[in-house]
């Protein structure tokens, strides 16, 4: 088998693959950073103001990174796969608008919730954080689910005018149908949403246990630890449903060598993708799963507070594999169940070869960016966890 199509420009194809891998890595990193959202769903574990502020301050120092990762994820998709940007954001309008709305509410909540004169009162800002932590995560999960189950659109191949809601047996709620149209995989999308939420909540708990002083907040840490156990049960069920769906559903496939890019339905497509390339995706997925579970066992069921590093790395690997099998190996990453041939692939939705070449050069900066993020992270962590003294210190810009 040849890895590059011989009927189209091979360099362009490699660049498309490269950018899909970048999208996958950003997606994986975003999943890691959703520990902020998951942590926001854990405010109920705090029983007094100091405990609540410990959670707020721990997450409040990281929310901007999650936010920025999302922005870059969007920017990379815009530049590299503009047709996806146009079709998905313009089509699944309400899903994306509600996701955005959740992030708008989150952004102000940390800075304002404990400030005097904040108009709405602390509980409203806390509600904003819950909304972002639960509803937004479910929506993001459902949106990613449609990468496998498909969406209800078709478009003109020349003008690329998108028409949403064209499936005769489908429902058109501008994207929200992904959660209620059970004929077209809503069960899978919902399970994916729950899976993402449960994973984020576990990561959030692991992060808080690592970042808040365990000696000063023993009861809070114990309560957070308890949530991991229950949430892990939910995660296992959701994961089983998603995996069962993923391995049994028909995938939207095309031949990378076919210049017409004709889409067909292929039974077991995602299993085939996992086994492609010497089964590396499957091995990475398994490694990610083992690491994730190891982190949960160490911190959720044991006494270590280092679980976040294992589970964090695990979720990054899982996230990368999910995106890789969704878009590579001749797979449509944004399929249409309304019109098979309208499905988007990395080849029919990408930017021009020149744009991708330029962006590839720009992407050289990514390792440097990652390096200084890690350095800053280390600088902020090296003096130990968040303490009561720091929270009460007027000079520490504590929330």
């Amino acid at each position: 088998m040849s890895w590059a199509p011989f009927t189209v420009d091979a360099t362009h194809f490699y660049l498309q693959v490269y950018f899909w891998i970048i999208v996958a890595v950003l997606g994986g990193l975003f999943l890691l950073m959703t520990f902020v959202q998951g942590g926001q769903s854990l405010f109920h574990t705090a029983k007094d103001e100091m405990e609540e502020r410990a959670i707020t301050n721990s997450l409040g120092r990281k929310w901007e990174l999650t936010f920025t990762t999302l922005v870059l994820f969007g920017g990379a998709l815009y530049a590299a796969f503009p047709l996806f940007y146009s079709v998905s954001f313009g089509g699944a309008y309400w899903v994306w608008m509600l996701i955005l709305f959740g992030f708008v509410l989150q952004a102000v909540a940390y800075e304002y919730m404990n400030k005097e004169g904040n108009l709405l009162g602390k509980n409203v800002y806390k509600f904003f954080l819950y909304f972002n932590g639960i509803v937004t995560m479910l929506l993001i999960g459902a949106a990613v689910g449609t990468f496998f189950t498909g969406s209800n659109f078709s478009f003109d191949p020349v003008t690329k005018d998108v028409i949403w809601g064209t499936a005769k047996d489908g429902i058109d709620l501008r994207g929200l149908e992904a959660a209620i149209d059970f004929k077209h995989g809503a069960w899978f999308n919902l399970a994916f949403g729950v899976l993402l939420f449960a994973a984020a909540r576990i990561l959030g708990a692991l992060w808080l246990i690592n970042d808040i002083d365990n000696n000063e907040f023993p009861e809070l840490i114990a309560r957070i630890r308890k949530t991991i156990k229950t949430c892990f049960g939910v995660l296992v069920v959701a994961l089983a449903i998603v995996l069962a769906g993923l391995l049994t559903m028909k995938g939207y496939a095309y031949d990378i060598h076919d210049p017409t890019g004709k889409i067909t339905l292929e039974p077991g497509k995602y299993l085939h993708n996992l086994l492609s390339f010497g089964a590396i995706p499957l091995l990475l997925f398994a490694a990610g799963l083992v690491l994730f579970i190891l982190g949960v066992l160490k911190t959720g069921f044991g006494n270590s507070n280092k679980g976040i590093w294992f589970s964090g790395l695990g979720i990054v690997l899982i996230g990368i594999v999910v995106f890789v099998i969704a878009g590579l190996f001749g797979t449509s990453f944004y399929p249409s169940y309304a019109d098979l041939q309208s499905s988007l692939t990395i080849q029919n939705s990408s930017g021009s070869k020149y744009t991708l070449e330029v962006m590839a050069w720009v992407s050289v900066a990514v390792p440097f960016v990652l390096a200084y993020i890690v350095w800053v992270w280390y600088q902020m962590k090296k003096n130990g966890p968040i303490t009561k003294e720091e929270i009460a210190d007027p000079e520490s810009h504590a929330y």
Binding site: A79, V362, S363, P394
Partner: protein, 527 residues
Amino acid sequence: MDHLSMVEWARAQFAMTALFHFFFVPFTLGMSFVVAFFETIYVKTGKKEWKEITQFWQLIFAINFALGLSTGIIHEFEFGTNWSTYSWVVGDLFGAPLAVEGIIAFFMEATFAAISFFGWKRVSKGVHLASSWLLAIGSNLSALWILIANGFMQHPSNEFGNFNIDTSRLEMIDFWKLIVQPVAQVKFLHVVSAGYTLASIFVLGISAFYLLRKKHVEFAKKSAAVAAAFGLVSSIFVAVIGDEHAYEVANTQPTKIAAAEGLYVGEKGAPIVAVGIPKNLKATEVTSNDEAFAFKIELPHMLSILGKHGFNAYVPGLKDLINGNPEYGIWPLSKLAKIGQEARDDLKAYHAAKEAGDKAAMEKARNDFYSVVWTGPEGLKLRKADLIGYGFFEGKNPDLIHPPVPPVFYAFHIMVSLGFWFILLFIWAWVAVVKGSFENNTLLQKLAVLTVPLPWVATSFGWMTAEIGRQPWTVFGVLPTAESATPIALANVQATFFMFLAAFVILGIAELKILFTVVKHGPKGAH
């Protein structure tokens, strides 16, 4: 008609979110540097009072930063949700700078904000100071990339973009030329220096407020001194680069400068209307510039001098840009629209031939599509493909081709007038600071306090001049606004408009209330 209404609602939503976002952007651009200045003095002198000053202004900066970020994210995705056709057609040229912004600038901003805000006791003084500077540089770099993207919308050039007949899209052909396009560069300098001026006025005004109340006097004097110096340099620079910006606009977007000056009929030695009340007229019906104003005071020749760098240089009016003016080589809109329509026909013919597998017909359509229709000085060439957007106006009311005069005129003139006031204020304040009289000059202090909201008015009107003045295009001369929007039912856009409006109003009030509370408490125990 429904489609037009949807476009108008989409525009309203974008304008609302953009304006709200733009309340915070210039403040962030300027305050990030103001905080870095104060912290540098603290690190140099080691005096605790400078640390207190730094932390107070940083707190105010942080309160704004959060809402600025949250309103900013809507924008990136709004291009997809409400302007999906735009995103697809120009995604290469517009999306690439946005992605670079994310990689190069946004991460720098967000990452070092963490140290600058929360790291006072977690890192060394040097690392903290470096982080505050990197936060400021990151914020300003972010503006650079956004304005490169916006510069492309204002003045797309076939030097860096090409309409690809195969993909029916405008694609990038030279990234470097996209970056260094003069329109974007002067726009960037104009916007960031306006941000510095805005932040300086804010610091000066709040300091003056404390001095009037006889509170936090030493804090206020020190803050005012830095603000006066920074503001003086910035406000003068805004005007100088603003002049250069106007020159670029006059030569690249003639409809915008004509609307901004209410110039309907082109003139040699064209004047600037210093003060005036323009009427809302159709350019095709105006016979003289005098009838276009209910009242006006003119500065003779100034538009020719500033816009074209010639005392008697010709500046085209809106009517010339519709009817054409052979004497000055200006084509009528009907000709541009005809060529644009031909380009559209070629595009259709090309794809029909492709479908039929007719290679000869494909070649012919391609050659027609890229045929040169105008050759200018220095080898500049215009092809049919470059004028494809004008095809939209074929057979349509020609008055649709220019922006409405009154809003652009007022926005531009209010912005410029306020700019001159800021320069006067800073000259006065700087002299008073140098002489040591700022502390006792209550008139100056009161004026400084009253001026605090005005730079927000100026920057918002500046943005409106740029964006309303570009209408009816999203990408000037290439992609009409009416063809850029997402095909979606009106009710969806209306609903999200009110959803975001409600959120912004409530969060905006909350932000102001927190801000007033912080200012009322003053620097002691600012955190």
